[in-house]
């Protein structure tokens, strides 16, 4: 499998962007990467990733903000934890990937379908405190646009199967008890997050 070639021309080191990433909750762990390459192989979606986690960390150190934030690497992470379990430096890679996803969303790098999916999932979850696949799907298509809906038509078999197996409820579920409390928690967390970001 060929991964995207990191560079074909000279690059210059610039740690400004890296320093921002190091300040993320798990970002500082990136520093201890010794470029062994275990993560590249451990990853369940290694065939799909533009850059291995290791290469991504190097890009961060080079200050290549655009390349990092427009890559599909952290979006491809399924949180399987294999990399985290095997990384000899003990880097919690999936947590770094989570942080990068958030950073990307916060900074408007939301082109990837996964970004839209997370947004749709989260917003739907906030309404009732539990998942409603129908609502989520609707939100997802709204964010992604017409093209996506057309693509979705290709998946209609999957959809019908899900309906048959009761995996696609047509009506939303009841709200959870204590939804108010949950909303308060979320709101507080977001407030703290904003504070930290400053």
């Amino acid at each position: 499998m060929e991964q995207k070639n990191v560079f074909s021309e000279p690059v210059k080191y610039d740690l400004t962007f890296a320093r921002e990433i190091f300040r993320l909750e798990n970002g500082s762990y990136i520093k201890q990467c010794m470029n062994c390459g275990m993560c590249a192989i451990s990853c369940a979606t290694r065939d799909v990733m533009d850059y291995s986690p290791r290469q991504l960390f190097n890009l961060i150190k080079l200050g290549k903000k655009e390349e990092v934030l427009t890559s599909n690497t952290f979006w491809s992470c399924t949180s399987c934890c294999t990399c985290k379990a095997r990384c000899p430096r003990g880097i919690p890679i999936i947590d770094v990937m989570h942080d990068l996803k958030k950073y990307a969303i916060d900074h408007g790098y939301t082109n990837y379908p996964q970004a839209a999916f997370y947004k749709a999932f989260w917003n739907e979850m906030s309404v009732r405190g539990r998942m409603f696949e129908g609502g989520m799907t609707a939100r997802y298509f709204l964010i992604r646009g017409l093209d996506e809906i057309l693509k979705a038509m290709d998946m209609k078999d999957v959809g019908i199967d899900m309906l048959k197996h009761g995996r696609m409820p047509l009506l939303p579920p009841k709200k959870i008890r204590g939804l108010g409390g949950l909303k308060k928690i979320i709101s507080k967390a977001q407030e703290l997050d904003r504070k930290e970001a400053r």
């Binding site: 070639n5 560079f7 074909s8 690059v11 210059k12 080191y13 520093k31 470029n35 080079l62």
Partner: protein, 735 residues
């Protein structure tokens, strides 16, 4: 000493079944008139040992000859006190286990070994230990840096009066000037305070006699009696010491040669030691620093070796920068990060502090407005990379031992025309560099011989302190490139060897490898012709020379290998328990069958260190080989005297085989060049042999290491086959 010999033949382990014990006893009783000759079914058992002890007590036996298993086993059982001689004749591993039982040739072999074991006793005496007059138990440490101070403190704490000589006005050497140190204990992540002040105090508290601003002008003598002249300013002091530790350290590699990395071109390209000075002086102000590893090391054009300590030293210095300024940008350019062992934690710590490690080769350094830019063939990124705005670029420029700094001692011009004219092959002599460290008054040169790259290291993995001068032990980075933790251990280790040398020498005993050996070479100067072979060939420089060329032996420098004994054409050198006539008699006592009996005889001189154990192992594994061989163990092939070859060939032997340890660059010979010398001597007699009408291929040398035991039968059978083609020795019937 009046010898009362008793022979004990063990019939256990199948010896009784495989040999005619009566005939064997007859050899002892009738041929050698041995007063007591007994047999026993298990000599190593309690009854057998009691039998021997009884004879010692009541019959006055003082020379016990045991014919049975190898001397390498039952050594603890057959110990009868230092005043009694114990001779072991190997009838098991080297006779019955590797030859046909109940067979005429095997019997002849066993009987010959009986003869050889008994004839040895004619020249065998209990050695009297050499006593040094005015023996000194003092330990001298030359060099007061980290290693030297450690050696001195450890030696003093063990109860030995210790003297330390340091050429600078202050103790501490290179480490003494450090701002902080790499960690030397768990968790191996934190910079430590400089240990030198504590070490100096410990040395003072332990009563080490310290000479500062002092150098060693001259070192004469030998272990137990080194007379050292210490020069301090205008005056000199004499000290008498028992053993010496050389810990004079190393110097940073000349950065002037690193112009390609910008040194000398740009003032802010500096070396590791210059950076350290800045840190110690508190003058470290930087917001962007780069470290370039392997600047001069691992480079065939400069230092081919790795300087071992630079990776962790640079990591330490990178942490200095971060310590002062957490926001500073620090880069380390490397080929491989060699933070071995627990230093892995130190490497990770530096990374966690934000030091960026870049694997790559630096291709260019340029400067603009005093700031430096590095261009590299960046292996981490897979392309060329640039990094600019460096305040400093620090070159990890490696180390060169002080032993390598100086001119080579010139080869001595030939003693006379004849010697100059002769094309004689000479044994390899390692170079000696006039580094002005010890200034030994030794015929072989003023310093320890410099092995690879000028380091006076031991060549042995199992014996790291085996320098070629007895009683002088090199330690720390003068010996080999190493990090501080290793140097501390090395200093203590060398102190141990020095202490041990003193203890052993006081009792007249040799040190490694013939530890405990109390014999030493004695010279019958009446017949000396001042040919200087012994003084030149001694691998340890144990023999000095006077102006006329007479050898002046120094017994406590001696390792008792016998190389001098083998070298002497006049055969004036002998040990109380190992001598030219002794081995000569062994050769001559072997029965030589008549030519028509078609029983060839092959004489084997086998080195005790590897070849004899290999022969034993062949026996232990019951590998069979021809019974024409007669094996004589030698302390070292270097002790082979050519007269024995004469004796052998004149006596009718069809062939002579030398089995010794490997020599050459990767030598295994435990006495440095014994086997090499033996081969050189052999080459000298090939002419003589040819003149006698004997083919020189009858006498050859081969290398055997202890693991080659499975090849021994083939080796010996091939030699026998070659000899068969040459035909029997024509001198046989004249013997």
């Amino acid at each position: 000493m009046e010898k009362k010999i008793a022979v004990y033949i063990c019939t256990g382990c199948g010896i009784g079944d495989a040999l005619d014990i009566d005939a064997l006893s007859k050899v002892a009783k009738s041929e050698f008139k041995v007063p007591i000759c007994k047999t026993d079914g298990q000599l190593c058992g309690p009854e057998g040992v009691a039998l021997i002890k009884q004879d010692i007590e009541s019959e006055g036996v003082n020379t016990v000859v045991i014919a049975g298993c190898s001397a390498r086993v039952n050594f603890d059982v057959f110990k009868f006190g230092p005043d009694n001689i114990v001779e072991r004749i190997n009838l098991r591993e080297q006779v019955i286990w590797c030859h046909t039982a109940d067979d005429e040739d095997t019997q002849m072999l066993a009987e010959d070994y009986m003869r050889m074991g008994l004839v040895k006793q004619k020249n065998m005496y209990v050695p009297e230990p050499y006593q040094v007059e005015s023996f000194s138990r003092n330990i001298l440490v030359v060099g007061g840096g980290l290693t030297g101070l450690t050696a001195a403190v450890e030696s003093a704490k063990a109860g030995y009066s210790t003297i330390l000589v340091e050429k600078d006005a202050e103790l501490g050497g290179y480490v003494g000037k450090m701002y902080k140190q790499v960690p030397m204990k768990p968790p191996y992540t934190d910079l430590e305070e400089n240990c030198i002040p504590n070490l100096v105090k410990a040395a003072e508290d332990a009563g080490v006699k310290i000479y500062k601003s002092a150098t060693v002008e001259n070192t004469a003598g030998a272990p137990g009696m080194f007379d050292v002249t210490i020069k301090q300013g205008d005056s000199t002091v004499q000290e008498r010491v028992g053993a010496i530790v050389l810990a004079t350290g190393a110097k940073p590699y000349e950065a002037d040669k690193l112009g390609h990395l910008g040194f000398g071109k740009f003032p802010n390209v500096i070396t590791q030691s210059m950076f350290e000075e800045m840190a110690t002086a508190g003058k470290l102000e930087a917001s962007k620093v780069a470290f370039i590893q392997c600047a001069g090391s691992r480079d065939q054009e400069h230092l081919p070796y790795c300087s071992a300590a630079c990776c962790i030293e640079s990591i330490k210095q990178a942490l200095y920068v971060k310590e002062k300024n957490a926001e500073a940008n620090v880069y380390v350019y490397y080929k491989d990060i060699r933070s071995n062992g627990q230093y892995e934690h130190f490497y990770m710590k530096a990374q966690q502090e934000g030091v960026v490690f870049v694997k790559g080769d630096v291709t260019e350094i340029t400067e603009e407005d005093g700031k430096l830019t590095i261009e590299a063939d960046d292996k981490t990124m897979g392309t060329t990379s640039l990094a600019d705005e460096f305040d400093y670029v620090v070159l990890a420029n490696g180390m060169v031992p002080t032993a390598a700094l100086g001119d080579l001692v010139e080869e001595e011009p030939a003693a006379d025309e004849a010697a100059a004219a002769s094309d004689e092959p000479k044994a390899s002599t390692p170079p000696v560099i006039k580094a002005n460290l010890l200034n030994l008054a030794y015929r072989q040169g003023p310093e320890l011989p410099a092995l690879k790259y000028g380091f006076p290291d031991s060549h042995y993995i199992c014996f790291p302190y085996e320098t070629r001068r007895t009683g002088i032990y090199a330690a720390g980075v003068v010996r080999a490139p190493m990090d501080m933790l290793s140097a501390v251990e090395d200093g203590a280790g060398a102190a141990m060897k020095a202490v041990q040398c003193v203890e052993a020498t006081e009792m007249g005993q040799a040190v490694h490898p013939r530890s405990g050996d109390m014999s030493f070479p004695e010279f019958n100067m009446n017949r000396c012709t001042q040919c200087k072979r012994c003084t030149e060939e001694c691998p340890f420089g144990a023999i000095n020379e006077d102006e006329k060329g007479n050898p002046l032996p120094n017994p406590s420098r001696c390792r008792r290998c016998g190389t001098c004994m083998g070298a002497c054409p006049e055969r004036i050198i002998s040990f109380k328990n190992y001598s030219v006539p002794m081995v000569g008699n062994m050769v001559k006592t072997i029965e030589m069958p008549e030519e028509d009996e078609e029983k060839p005889r092959i004489l084997i001189f086998a080195c005790e260190n590897d070849a004899i154990p290999a022969l034993d192992m062949a026996g232990i594994n019951r590998l069979q080989y021809n019974a024409w061989v007669r094996i004589i163990p030698l302390r070292c092939l270097g002790s082979l005297n050519l007269v024995w070859i004469n004796d052998a060939m004149g006596g009718g032997f069809d062939g002579v085989l030398l089995m010794g340890c490997k020599h050459g660059d990767d030598y295994q010979c435990h006495f440095m060049k014994g086997s090499e010398l033996a081969e050189i001597r052999l080459s000298k007699i090939s002419e003589t042999l040819d003149r006698l009408g004997l083919e020189s291929e009858r006498v050859r040398a081969t290398t055997v290491n202890i693991m080659d035991y499975d090849k021994i039968p083939a080796m010996l059978d091939e030699f026998a086959a070659d000899l068969e083609e040459l035909g029997p020795n024509p001198m046989k019937d004249f013997a």
